[in-house]
Symmetry: C2
Subunit: 150 residues, 2 copies
């Protein structure tokens, strides 16, 4: 069991390697059927004549796979709880991509009004096996402060 | 079949009613097992002692359900293709919530460099049956311009 990290344990620049996930066409289509049923996520032939020029993963699929990886590897006390997030997708994700995820602490801010917690700004980058940036995902996370010994 | 909308067909303030979806505890847990396996999304008892004080849906679950609803109801020509998105969750989503989704066009901007397309900023609000705002999801969408008659 990894040690749980409280706000006091976090530092700007701290990095978490969150591992790898190999994508494939079947995963892309299964996610799309459930949550983003558009031709360029569902079928190679239909995708050819679209903006993407071929099968591409839903951006939300990449977010969800990334979320699972950081939920397992970023051990904030109390869990990963976000109130807001920003996402950009610099390029499409393809069926042959192997995702590699790294999270970096960008800011650590104690709450002014709630002495028992604070906010950590976490930037998570998802790249493929060529090092190409597929997604930048920045989230404001609620992190508890270490309880005082009683 | 709904008429497909090109950039020229969009106006600031244009609204799309995207329908309703009734959530329940089983859907929340099934999504969490696959993409966000944290105690407050997986189990009522484990959720009680957490930040949420009871079972709450993963924010990404609400995004994905919202995405499916807008993919079916916002008929941009070429599909719904986003390069960036911002999301906030003003309050947790609970197993008894019935989601209601409305999208509003906030900006329409022709591309300076690409004459065949432009950008629409789409704000999508997800509320529950009490009208409480659960999620605001703003996305920059790529929208093609209407092809000239040849």
């Amino acid at each position: 069991m990894t040690e749980r990290l409280y706000l006091e344990d976090l530092q700007v620049g701290q990095r978490f390697a969150c591992g790898r996930h190999a994508l494939d066409a079947e995963q892309i289509k299964a996610f799309a059927r459930e949550f983003d049923p558009q031709p360029f996520h569902l079928d190679e032939d239909a995708a050819r004549g679209t903006f993407f020029g071929g099968l591409a993963a839903s951006g939300w699929h990449i977010v969800c796979l990334t979320m699972r990886m950081i939920a397992e590897k970023v051990p904030f006390a109390g869990g990963l709880i976000g109130g807001a997030a920003e996402i950009t997708w610099p390029q499409p994700t393809r069926p042959t991509d192997v995702l590699e995820v790294v999270s970096i602490v960008m800011e650590v801010t104690p709450s002014r009004s709630k002495p028992e917690r604070g906010m950590a700004l976490l930037r998570t980058e998802t790249r493929n096996q060529k090092g190409e940036l597929l997604q930048i995902f920045t989230a404001k996370c609620v992190v508890p402060r270490r309880p005082k010994a009683s």
